[in-house]
């Protein structure tokens, strides 16, 4: 297996990347960690005529704390996020999700920006970012703009990134006092893409849940916020009755599909079981 022939550029500034993108349009693709791009090129599912390697843009890498939010550069590798004390403290949901993302070799290379821009419907990070109310920073020729994660993911592998734009950073609000996170997914094997997964974030006060944000992945084309199930838990403590109500409400929120790995019915069953699990985890602290 070998990619088809392409030209290669390794720019040293974001401006240079933007210039190449505007010149080459759809024919160009950005190489960050390459852990999603390279498989598609090896399988010739994608055949760009120009690969723009952004690994020289060191300014796009790193995690910084800025007041009430964390800023994660697009080129920050998963392994750095996984091992970051700042992430563990201020965005524990991200830290919880990290071990479920593929395997160590892939996390050594894969990047935050790459995962988000790729927008795989079964990926963990997009759902986490939606649950946390994160913002995506996008840079184009007119400068930088920010878009809420919940607006960024528009469809299957489709995002708000426009022609000639590059994703440059993610901003995540630091976890507020009294809030907790939980994460779980079900995959055939550890490290595989999930058949169903959920990111959960809520305020928990003496066992009472409020402001719950349950966001599922691998159940639709984008991360899917379970608004009804989340609302069903408002002001409730976590017990058999409230869990059953949230599970019932989930039927309004998600419409899973059949695929090779499991049926829609099984996926819905998994979603309900995962709901029970993350709610119990949130309540237990």
């Amino acid at each position: 297996m070998k990619p088809s022939a392409f030209n290669y550029a390794k720019p040293s500034s974001v401006d240079e990347v933007l210039g190449l993108l505007s010149e080459h349009g759809d024919e160009a693709t950005i190489l960050a960690g390459g852990q999603s791009l390279m498989p598609t090129m090896n399988m010739r599912l994608s055949a760009p005529s120009l690969v723009i390697d952004i690994n020289g843009l060191v300014d796009l890498s790193g995690i910084s704390s800025d007041g009430d939010s964390l800023r994660i550069g697009a080129l920050t590798r998963h392994v750095e996020i996984e091992n970051s004390p700042e992430i563990a403290k201020h965005a524990p949901l991200i830290a919880m999700a990290m071990p479920s993302i593929a395997h160590p070799a892939i996390r050594n290379r894969g990047t935050m920006g790459g995962s988000v821009a790729m927008a795989d419907p079964a990926a963990e990070l997009p759902a986490c970012l939606c649950a946390l109310g994160a913002e995506i920073e996008i840079t184009g020729s007119g400068g930088a703009r920010k878009v809420a994660a919940t607006d960024f993911f528009r469809g299957l592998y489709d995002t708000d990134l426009g022609d000639g734009e590059i994703l440059t950073a993610i901003e995540i609000p630091k976890i507020s006092a009294g809030y907790r996170s939980a994460f779980d997914e079900l995959a055939r094997r550890h490290g595989d893409y999930a058949m169903c997964g959920v990111a959960a974030h809520a305020k928990v006060d003496g066992g009472t849940i409020s402001d719950l944000r349950l966001v599922f992945f691998a159940v639709g084309g984008t991360p899917v916020a379970a608004a009804s199930a989340s609302a069903a838990m408002e002001g409730q403590s976590v017990d058999d009755n409230s869990i059953a109500a949230a599970q019932a409400a989930l039927e309004e929120d998600i419409s899973p599909f059949d695929d090779l790995h499991c049926s829609a019915t099984l996926r819905m069953h998994y979603a309900k079981e995962l709901t029970k699990h993350v709610l119990t985890t949130l309540a237990a602290g």
Binding site: M1, P99, A102
Partner: protein, 158 residues
């Protein structure tokens, strides 16, 4: 497409090579440099047979371009033994019969060495998760886990 001139360090040796943009690091190692220890199992990062380290970090060489190797230090299975002296992991793989067909073995050894560098005293569960990116279709993994645990103990001097 013009070829790119790349300078890298491979198993401690400074190496120059010409590569096409469409060659992965694995293609370069196997086809241009004749280092055929790393194998292509899948080309998608699922099997780990192509594992090497890039600046000390474990990667799938099928998911890195040859041109990305510029200025990097690469270590492959060919550099693991010290002359005729096998690395403890290699010796324990032989002792525990932790291989059958051998296709996955170079990747597993590189991956296991990387794991033990980060965690010299892993639990069995940590070894299983640490090596989960390396598929073996022959052994059933039991002897691989035993070999890695045994090698870890020896390498700790315990």
């Amino acid at each position: 497409m013009k070829k790119h001139h790349i300078s890298a360090t491979i198993n401690g040796d400074e190496v120059d090579f010409l590569c096409e943009t469409s060659e992965t690091l694995l293609d370069v190692l196997r086809d241009d440099l004749n280092l055929t220890g790393a194998k292509e199992g899948c080309g998608t990062g699922d099997c780990g047979a192509c594992s090497v380290t890039l600046d000390g970090v474990l990667v799938c060489s099928c998911l890195v371009l040859g041109v990305e190797a510029e200025g990097k230090e690469i270590e492959t299975i060919e550099g693991m033994a010290d002359g005729d002296e096998l690395h403890p992991l290699q010796r324990k793989f032989v002792e525990h019969i932790a291989l059958q067909c051998g296709i996955c073995t170079p990747g597993l050894l590189i991956s296991a060495r990387s794991l033990l560098e980060k965690n010299p005293d892993p639990t069995e569960e940590e070894v299983r998760f640490g090596l989960a990116g390396n598929l073996c279709r022959c052994t059933g993994y039991q002897n691989i886990i035993k070999a890695v645990m045994d090698a870890a103990q020896e390498m700790r001097g315990a």
